[in-house]
Amino acid sequence: MNARIKRKLNSDTFYITIVYILLIFAVTLCLYPLIYVVSASVSDPKELMLGNVLLLPKGLTLRAYQSILNYENILIGYRNTVFYTCVATPYNLLLTIFAAYPLSRKNLSGRNLVTFLITFTMFFSGGMIPKYLNMVNLHLINNPLVMIIPSAVNASYFIIMRNYFTHSVSEELIESACVEGASQWQTLFQVVLPVSRPVLGVITLYYLSDHWSSYFSAMMYLKDNDLMPLQIFLRRILILQSMDGMSEGNVMEDQLLYEVLKYAVIVASTLPMTIAYLFVRKSFKKGIMIGSLKG
């Protein structure tokens, strides 16, 4: 008997060691690109060209970040993205609440139909071209509103929020508000929303990050340079590797600068969302776990 327990303990230690080795390997793979990008962005471009930067920065310099500040397109992109994100996110959040709260109430007749109308759009849509023609008809092409108004409610986020309201906000709380004479709007804004902070935080983060990262709708619907969000300019710099508007005259210098500039723009464009994520990380677990359980 004793020997059996001992054998079990031994095999468990071995098992946990393997688990840790695999996890540390995975974390390394996950972090390496992030660390490399940050290191490269503050390295001396010459060291980068020679292939001397492998993990840590060589020859610290912030020149790349300084030249970002002189690069007009990036500033335009930053301004527009901040604007679109800051206007669209509250709008999305509000409409998602407007959809999720009523449809989480069991005595609302017709709620199955409306829920079906919303979730059906997850599985079938008009497709890229009918959507585009619809925007043409609505005169939304090359109109900044196109980055804000359409797709106000994301169907999966709606489900998460509705499930949170159904399962995590106690029925008694809502009923007692009702008994005390609160109207349904008062109940929602003064009773239900204050106790739903975790899910509100998570859904806000989702919408923020979606708007921050989106490029395809801008590519489809916008034309003017002045309206373009940051991601469009990032695509030009990082993927099409064009640098119009940032030349400093000398071709060699430009080429050198480009090597670090690309990493610097990656950092500058990604940092805000990463910080936002780390900020709401705590409510993250509560918010989505409960919401997604019956997703």
Binding site: V37, Y101, L108, L234
Partner: protein, 327 residues
């Protein structure tokens, strides 16, 4: 919105009695409307938004069967039957694009579906605090935009300064730089690997939450009975997350034909088109690029019909086999 599903289901029953089901339904609705008018008011902007931006475009699908002219509009254009579909199926482009979509998607699912599950199982085995810290790290790449992910890929694969070539040369694995982004054979691996990097932590969250719902007393009982940790994994943990795995599998299979075209489009280079042209990028180029709206709509419709039928088929199979299903 005035009809509840209950009404439509009962509408054909004979209305002999004074209070027919239809009337009862309407009465319930009226009562609910009086009681809940504030809630209905909240729903109105949502419904309007869905009608304008989701359901009106669905009516635009009809141009797949029409000879669309901008002047006559969607409803005014003349019908032309299956002309666009014939053109698609007889086009020399069709077979390669269809297979590219399918292969990329299936390969992607083969690798990126099980890895988050494995990660969740691993994270479930270790100390909670450490596991929480690891989760936070794994999720960070999810907040990196797809443009930046592809941008990092291009930068890392650059033949002159890219770190991948630098590392391979340092390790003496290659003598000459490889131009990864320009070579077709590297397109699919780099698509899949970068995708896993970006989404593995995120996709694992749902399994982690399913795992955290398992009753810990089961493990205690198993432990007292002398089951090793590995045996507990096989006999308790995996069976408990299986329903979640199946639901996710159904959802994913409904998207088989719609690969992440935003990313594919970003990763495409002229020299890799033979493997990287997929249905949705083709729709974009034909529709928005060449303004062949009706043809592009037909191609897109073909795509979503396949998706929808796959979803229905897999859902039905799963309902039969495991009693887990979406509807």
């Amino acid at each position: 919105m005035k009809n509840t599903p209950t009404i439509s289901r009962n509408a054909y029953q004979p209305c002999v009695q004074a209070a027919s089901p239809l009337q009862t339904g309407l009465r319930t609705f009226n009562k609910s409307l009086k009681l809940n008018y504030q809630l209905y008011l909240l729903l109105i902007p949502v419904i309007i938004n869905f009608i304008i931006f989701a359901y009106v475009p669905m009516t635009g699908v009809q141009i797949a069967f029409k000879d669309y002219s901008i002047r006559k509009g969607i409803w005014g254009s003349a019908w032309c039957g299956f002309e666009h579909f014939e053109r698609l199926f007889t086009s020399a482009n069709f077979a390669p694009i269809f297979w590219n979509t399918l292969i990329l998607s299936v390969l992607n699912m083969l690798f990126s579906f099980p890895i988050p599950i494995i990660l969740a199982l691993l994270l479930n085995e270790i100390n909670h605090r450490v596991s929480g810290a690891f989760q936070t790290i794994f999720i960070i790449p999810h907040f990196v935009s797809v443009v930046v992910v592809v941008g990092i890929l291009v930068a890392f694969c650059s033949p002159s300064t890219g770190v991948i070539n630098v590392l391979l040369k340092r390790l003496n694995l290659i003598d000459e730089s490889i131009y990864f982004t320009r070579m077709s054979q590297y397109f699919r691996p780099s698509y899949i690997i970068s995708g896993i990097w970006q989404s593995v932590g995120w996709d694992a969250v749902i399994y982690i939450s399913a795992l955290s719902a398992i009753d810990p007393t089961i493990y205690e009982a198993a432990s007292i009975d002398g089951a090793s940790r590995f045996k507990q994994l096989l006999k308790i943990t995996i069976p408990s997350v299986l329903p979640t795995i199946i639901i996710m599998l159904i959802l994913k299979s409904g998207k088989i034909m719609s690969v992440g075209y935003e990313k594919v489009y970003l990763m495409q280079t002229t020299t890799t088109l033979d493997v990287s042209e997929v249905i949705s990028t083709y729709v974009y180029k034909k529709g928005i690029g060449k303004q062949e709206f009706d043809y592009a709509t037909a191609v897109g419709l073909f795509d979503s019909v396949i998706n929808l039928s796959l979803l229905a088929i897999v859902n039905r199979i799963s309902k039969k086999v495991s009693e887990v299903s979406l509807w």
